[in-house]
Amino acid sequence: MLKATLRSFLAHKGRLLLSALAVILSVAFVAGSLIFSDTVTRTFDRLFASTSADVTVGPKDDDLDSQIPSGAIETVPTSLVDRIATVDGVARTRADVSVENVTVVDSDNESVGPTTGAPTIAGDWYVTERSPVELTSGHAPRGPGQALLDADTADKKHVDIGDTLTVIAQPGSFKVEVVGIATFKTTNPGAALVFLDPAVAETKLLGKEGVATSIQVDADQGVSDAQLKQRIATELGPGTYELETADEQAETAAAQLGGFLDVIKYVMLGFAGIAVLVGVFLIVNTFSMLIAQRTRELGLLRALGADRRQVRRSVLTEATLLGLVGSTLGLAAGIGLAIGLIELMGLLGMNLKTAEMVIGWPTPVSAYVVGVGVTFVAAYLPARRAAGVSPMAALVDAEIAGVGRPLRVRAVVGLIVGALGAAALVGCVTATETGSAASLLGLGVVLTLIATVIAGPLLVRPVIRVLGGAFPALFGSIGRMSQRNALRNPRRTGATAAALMVGLALVGGMSVASASMTKSFDEQIDKTLGADFVVQNSNFLPFPQEITEKVEATDGAGLVVRQRFTPVAVRLPDGKRVETTAAGYQPQLDEVARITYAQGNTAAALADGNIAMDATFAKDHDVRVGSTIPVEFPAGQRTELTVAALTDQDAAEGFGTQGGLFFGFGTIEKYVPGGQDSALYVNASSGTSADTLRSNLDKTLDPYPQVQVRDLADYKKLIHDQIAVLLYLVYALLGLAIVIAVLGVVNTLALSVVERTREIGLLRAIGLARRQLRRMIRLESVVIAVFGAVLGLALGLVWGVCVQQVLALQGMKALAIPWTTLVAVVVGSAVVGIVAALLPALRASRMNVLAAIAHE
């Protein structure tokens, strides 16, 4: 039996190839992402472990993580150096200055920092054996006007020794001459580094003397890091500073970097998931078709005495073989993918070494589990069907199995699952709380997807009748035959189209959701933004005070309203602690923004000791006007604020600002000292035109490339671009889904062509030209692809509307359906159909007419 299985496997290798491709793709993405993240993690663990001091004493961690920082730099007093030096077992102690939010510009006012979002880090030049860099040319910086630059940045931005740079730091900008180049001894994580004389680093970067960003401590020989940490903690007292050993420091640093790497990892896993999901359809379809073709052969096996289990096992063995081959090739492809990613990171400035690639044991294990598992599971149903072939099948000239089987079970199951899914979606639309709505949405999406896949074959007839309805009129009998061929085996057509459907449903849903988000933000911006211009960083990061002063002093600038953000945690009356980001505004807010209040007004909201929040958020957490709520600020600052106003705005809670909290500028200055402005709303003074102000502001801000001037339209575009990033990711996913779906269509058509050999021979004999035959197959392919697209987009449209309803709970009330995108997708799917038909059509047209007629 095994021999027969192997023979059959090898005999069908051409056909299994396409299934194998699906397995290879999914395994490659799984393996590639694992290898890449392992390699990166190992590299950075090593980097951080080798460059961290034995114990690092830093400011107390306030547990307030936020995407939008306040801009304040938390410090420790340098006086700690002397205190720690007295601790038993301390070999060396020093105060370290290292700040991330600086901008360094060259003489053309162009930033020399990385364009990838990696930070520019300025610090003091202090060489130990643990420094990640060493001086390779020039000399160490001496005095306030000198600096070192890292070699990679110098190289990329063409900076040489003797060039002048401007460092824009929180206390103010200053000019430095590059006097030396420092080269990375370890992996360069992609950041730009600027080093100053330690004697001037504190004042230049931190703005005051006697403070540092951390204290670095090295242990005497024989004293472990953990012991030393314990001793220093005892000396300094509990809860005042954050102490980390080298290992812990490496972990924290890796975790900070991890955010970025996690994104890559999840994107890769997303690709793997799509590949697996779509691949399953392909494999199920291939095996079903192989079995249908081999009905007689299987019947013969049964007639010769093979029992059902043996037949089933034979098919499953074949699947396992396919899985093993696919996984092995996929693993190899995954290594290639990881190398590609590492090279790509190199282009982005993160110099990983392919030689140090890490392939841990979980990588091959997951590769084979995914590859073999998916194939086995996908082949299980076809295998059961194979086992059900009766011995009689060998004797009768059986029609292709499965064609005539009624679809009643599918109809019933599809209807039930579909009804449940629809109920979940209706529940999601009518839900009033975001949490439950989101989970209902997830459930509804999964159930409706399953239902559509199950019921797909039932929809083939009605939908394709309509889609291909014009074919006979347009293409005559060729059109008629291609339309009917697509209807011939609804199961097969349904399964083939399902692969395309899944991908396009996701795209449909996401494009509706993102178009709705964009429209909501647009409406929101139109409604609320009253300022002529907004000055801010394109990443919403804060900028130094100096910029604010320059803007205020700009000719023609009338009113300037400053905005600051800070991470906060609020304890609400319902007992919940919510970590979010709050904003502080100057009192003339009404001049630059139109805020709708449910209760209270701007004056009340911004008064000392007061806070305002979104009315819906307040209602959800039992907050009323007059409630007093405890607020935690960074660096352990706490206070209580009185709720004085509730806002009633659409999209009050965008981008991590849950609750829409805001208060007066005085409050944020008081509790977050040293914070930086994150936006300036600027109105032209009377008598100055907006155009004049704009050109004046552009001139003012020329030396500060990190901030830009935006009017209403620019501001909208900024938001659009942010949302577009999400869309690009989705489109990339779609691309992969389409590739696999094309494989599926190719597979189905190739098998159909083989099955219809005699029919094709007959058609050719009675005068169908090759060109016409190719067109017939192309049209069939197009109708299948468009069927999948229409089904997918219809499903995606429903999902998108439901997603929008969930977003509406967050204030994003506008619904936009991107019709052009949807139409483009349908047209694109027709192109996909044409592409998929290329090879099968060529094969059909090359068939020898006589051989085809005689074919059995």
């Binding site: 009998s477 008629r480 005699r758 058609l763 169908l768 090759r770 007419v849 007629i853």
Partner: protein
């Protein structure tokens, strides 16, 4: 048809009224020592407006002859004409058009496209060509074959005999110069077979069509005006106004000449359907 010259040039007929013609038609398979001659320099004329049957044992080259005459197969040597058109040397595309516009086909089985109904199958060659069928002629054919109430049926809903009638109607529908029928009764019971043969006969007698039928059923061959006998790739004999008995008798002589028949083509099995 000149029977006088039959002994010298079997299968040849007068120049006028010739639907198809082959000269020195040779078809070889393989090369070198293993070359097999399926047709060995065959000269044949198919008379216009006649019903010609081609008979011979399995492997005699009768199907190959038909395929070459119909432009389905390429020839190794020699020339073939359909009417005045020399089809040897035509390009693939021209051959396809020629088959579509000037030749009608009936095969033993799998004659119809399963996704099309009877009416659509009948007009298929004209639809492919983008031509409008001659409605009057079409109606006459449909009525002659008794298919009027079957036009909307798919092949799966028709009996074997009805399917062959539809195939016959398709072959006639475009009023081709020549109809080739390859074992048209091979898969039918005798009653349905007789019916189909009757229709082919009528096509010649009443509609003035030219029919060439490959068969190894002497009973079927008896419906023809002329039977050409093929053996070992040559036309070895011909018989005008044949009867089933005479044909059977003639086929038995293959037996005596060659000693034995190969395969299932023995004359005593002549009525049985052939898988060839």
């Amino acid at each position: 048809m000149s029977t006088a010259a039959a002994e010298q040039a079997l299968g040849r007929t007068d120049a006028e009224g010739i639907a198809a013609r082959a000269r020195g038609l040779t078809k070889a398979y393989g090369s070198g020592e293993t070359t097999v001659l399926a047709l060995d320099s065959v000269d044949v004329d198919i008379a216009r407006g006649r019903f010609t049957a081609v008979m011979g044992p399995s492997g005699s080259g009768k199907s190959t002859l038909m395929h070459c005459l119909a432009g389905l197969d390429t020839v190794s040597a020699g020339q073939v004409w359909l009417g005045d058109t020399e089809i040897t040397g035509l390009k693939e595309r021209e051959l396809t058009q020629l088959r579509r516009d000037r030749i009608g086909f009936m095969f033993q089985s799998f004659n119809l496209i399963p996704t099309l109904n009877a009416a659509e199958n009948i007009t298929l060659p004209m639809d492919i060509a983008g031509q409008k069928p001659d409605e009057k002629w079409l109606n006459q054919v449909i009525d002659n074959l008794g298919l009027r109430d079957r036009l909307g049926h798919r092949p799966a809903q028709l009996s074997g005999g009805q399917q062959q009638r539809v195939a016959c109607a398709r072959a006639l529908a475009s009023r081709p110069e020549l109809i080739f029928a390859d074992e048209p009764t091979g898969n039918l019971d005798s009653r349905a077979g007789l019916e189909v043969l009757g229709f082919l006969r009528d096509a010649v007698d009443e509609l003035g069509q030219t029919v060439v039928m490959v068969t190894h059923d002497p009973g079927a061959a008896a419906h023809a005006d002329l039977v050409l006998f093929l053996g070992d790739g040559r036309i070895v004999d011909e018989m005008a106004r044949p009867t089933a008995e005479a044909v059977l008798e003639r086929m038995k002589r293959f037996d005596t000449i060659r000693g034995t028949f190969d395969g299932d083509a023995a004359p005593d099995q002549g009525i049985a359907p052939d898988q060839d």
